[in-house]
């Protein structure tokens, strides 16, 4: 650039008179642990976004080299100021800094572009694949749909897990809690449900959102990789607020996730959202609340911790046809300590959701995976959404298993058992084996129906318990090869007709003849 051009630019700048506009501002009086006290901003509203002015007093070049703008979220309105949480690096905020009101409520960008991407709690890309081009801003805090805009749960959401789809069925728009100690396979159940959606036709396939709250980055990276390998990332969005993220972002992540989900629901689509996990969100919210000097209550949680979860989970619903008929199905996860479900947060979320599945360490250690304790797991609305085919085969399983568990306990004291009791125990053992499933391998509906049909018709009774899984696998391969039409018919109609039953009986007979060595018992 020659000197005359520079001169010209400088003259232009000299002549320039920028339009001055009045902005509503405050001043930082105290900062610490991600929370700032701000004097002023008397017209600010709750959940408003404020912007920290970092350039003041800095040279132009330094101000230009600063990172992206730093925002805060107002959480407390007080007599002589406000308290806000910093949505970024606390070290960038200093006492005396000017804080500008933006007049905007916190929103996150949402669009189809987010599919297959990993974003943070503010909707910013975290996967290095560049910014989003065209998005719609969705408010993070939004009132849940009212009663007249809702519709009952009637469409099934297949999870691909036999034990769930048969005994604790989930419908689209339902909120089903996954609860258990650490290391019992809670995340696996949720991830399998996401992977299983690949078997759904594209037009009715739910958009999946996995919200990782306070998780290790390595775990989230592994999940993203697993979803990618299984081809599930094409319809999935990951909202990541890792353990290293500020408490504010961990508190916001589930709300951001559901806001993104609402974009798709408003368009009439179905959404499946997994909150992994809400215990950590509650802990983050407790930290924030204590720093905001809100009065602590039970277990030092603030008084509104119930409302924190209820307002989040109420946003999961199925909309009426007039509203587009979309839905959000929520699978919140809660981690218990030593199997104690009577804790504050677990009982809160149990009472909010439409059912819960308990995962138990004992079953997990016995090799029963998924380690769901079907005796105490329920789905309050899902049975209305269960397919007829599944209803036909799963009707008596829960009772059979409950009886088996009771007899199993009794068996430890009694050596002589009558034949009926012994048969029931043997049948129960095999049913437990049939319900076992590898992780990361969800099973499509028709195969589940076939396996459970076989189990409920004493097909495995002559198979040694240790070989049930193997025989089941071979039977499924046999059905895939020889009876693909029957399986396709079950899938298409969602029913188990008399013809289908005949075909399955025939298939089981043929298989038994072909593999007679496996039925030696």
């Amino acid at each position: 650039m020659d000197s005359t051009t520079v001169e010209k630019i400088l003259k232009e700048i000299e002549k320039f008179a920028p339009a001055a506009e009045s902005e509503h501002v405050g001043r930082v009086t105290a900062v610490g642990d991600g929370v700032v006290a701000i004097d002023g901003l008397s017209k600010a509203v709750l959940s408003e976004i404020v912007m920290f002015e970092e350039g003041k007093g800095k040279k132009l070049a330094d101000a230009m080299s600063a990172e992206a703008e730093l925002y805060g979220l107002i959480l407390n309105l007080e007599e002589d100021g406000v308290r806000a949480t910093i949505l970024g690096d606390t070290a960038r905020v200093s006492e005396g800094m000017t804080v500008k009101s933006t007049g905007k409520i916190l929103s996150v960008p949402s669009s189809e572009e987010l599919l297959g991407r990993v974003v943070n709690a503010l909707g910013e890309p975290q996967d290095g694949k560049g910014p989003f081009k065209k998005t719609t801003l969705m408010p993070v805090e939004r009132q849940a749909a009212g009663v007249i805009y809702r519709k009952g749960v009637s469409v099934p959401l297949a999870t691909g897990t036999k034990a769930i789809d048969a005994m604790i069925p989930i419908g689209r728009g339902q909120r089903e809690l996954i609860i258990g100690d650490r290391g019992t396979g809670k995340t696996t159940v949720a991830i399998d449900a996401i992977i299983n959606q690949k078997y759904e036709p594209e037009e009715t396939r739910p958009i999946c959102i996995y919200v990782a709250i306070g998780q290790k980055e390595s775990k989230t990276a592994r999940i993203a990789q697993q979803l990618r390998e299984q081809g599930a990332m094409d319809y999935t969005i990951i909202v990541d607020a890792p353990a290293s993220a500020p408490a504010a972002l961990q508190y916001l992540a589930p709300f951001s996730g559901v806001a993104i989900g609402e974009y798709f629901m408003d368009k009439g689509k179905d959404v499946l959202i997994v909150y992994d996990d809400l215990s950590k969100q509650a802990t983050a919210y407790r930290q924030l609340s204590l720093l905001l000097r809100r009065p602590p209550g039970r277990e030092a949680y603030p008084g509104d911790v119930f409302y924190l979860h209820s307002r989040l989970l109420e946003r999961a619903c199925r909309l009426s046809e007039e509203k587009g008929g979309g839905s959000i199905t929520a699978l919140p996860i809660i981690e218990t300590q030593e199997g104690d479900v009577s804790g504050y947060i677990p009982t809160n979320v149990i009472s909010i959701t439409d059912g819960q599945m308990f995962l138990v360490t004992d079953l997990f250690n016995k090799g029963i995976r998924p380690a769901i304790d079907v005796g105490i797991s329920v789905s309050r609305v899902g049975s209305a959404a269960q397919t007829k085919a599944m209803k036909a085969v799963a009707g008596g399983i829960k009772l059979e298993l409950a009886q088996f568990r009771e007899l199993e306990a009794f068996m430890q004291f009694a050596s002589d058992l009558d034949k009926a009791t012994a048969d029931r125990i043997e049948s129960g053992r095999r049913m437990v084996e049939v319900l076992k499933q590898k992780n990361g391998a969800p099973i499509p509906l028709e195969r589940q129906v076939a396996a459970l049909y076989a189990a409920s018709h004493a097909f495995f009774l002559d198979v040694p318990v240790g070989k049930v899984t193997e025989v089941e696998g071979l039977l499924m391969d046999f059905l895939d090869g020889q009876y693909a039409k029957t399986l396709a018919a079950i899938r298409k109609s969602g029913q188990l007709s008399e013809d289908d039953k005949k075909e399955l009986n025939k298939a089981m007979e043929e298989f038994r003849l072909a593999h007679s060595e496996m039925f030696s018992q």
Partner: protein, 129 residues
């Protein structure tokens, strides 16, 4: 605790009570409650409140150069009128990093007509597009 007493003291004085009377009233109250030891801490809290209140009502006009003062005062007058303030309430400061223009801050308002703000927004637009 001292914050509450300091706030009360400030409101008493602001409400028109003589400072000496107000302090005596607070001291008597403290003696009655057995909290006389709080007095020095109340004084510190009071000075913080007073300082904050002064900042709230004060207005600062920041310029990049001394010579821009006349033009800046003229341009800022409209905003001062809106805020119910006059030129007498202004404290003028020089901040060379502003490059040019002026910036009026105070009473929960910020009017930034500095070149720096314009250049930064220009830079942000240029680098984001």
């Amino acid at each position: 605790m001292e914050q509450v007493y300091a706030q009360a003291l400030f409101k008493m004085v602001e409400g028109g009570m003589e400072p000496k009377k107000a302090v005596t009233a607070v001291r008597e109250r403290l003696i009655a409650e057995g909290r006389e030891g709080l007095m020095s801490r109340i004084a510190r809290a009071f000075s913080h409140i007073a300082q904050r209140e002064m900042q709230k009502s004060g207005l600062v006009l920041t310029l990049a150069r001394e010579k821009d003062s006349h033009a800046a005062h003229k341009e800022a007058k409209k905003f001062l009128d809106e805020m119910g303030a006059s030129a007498k309430d202004l404290t003028t400061r020089i901040d060379e990093t502003q490059t040019g223009g002026w910036r009026l801050e105070g009473r929960e308002h910020l009017i930034d007509a500095s070149y720096k703000k314009y250049l930064l927004s220009l830079y942000a637009r240029a680098t984001n597009s």
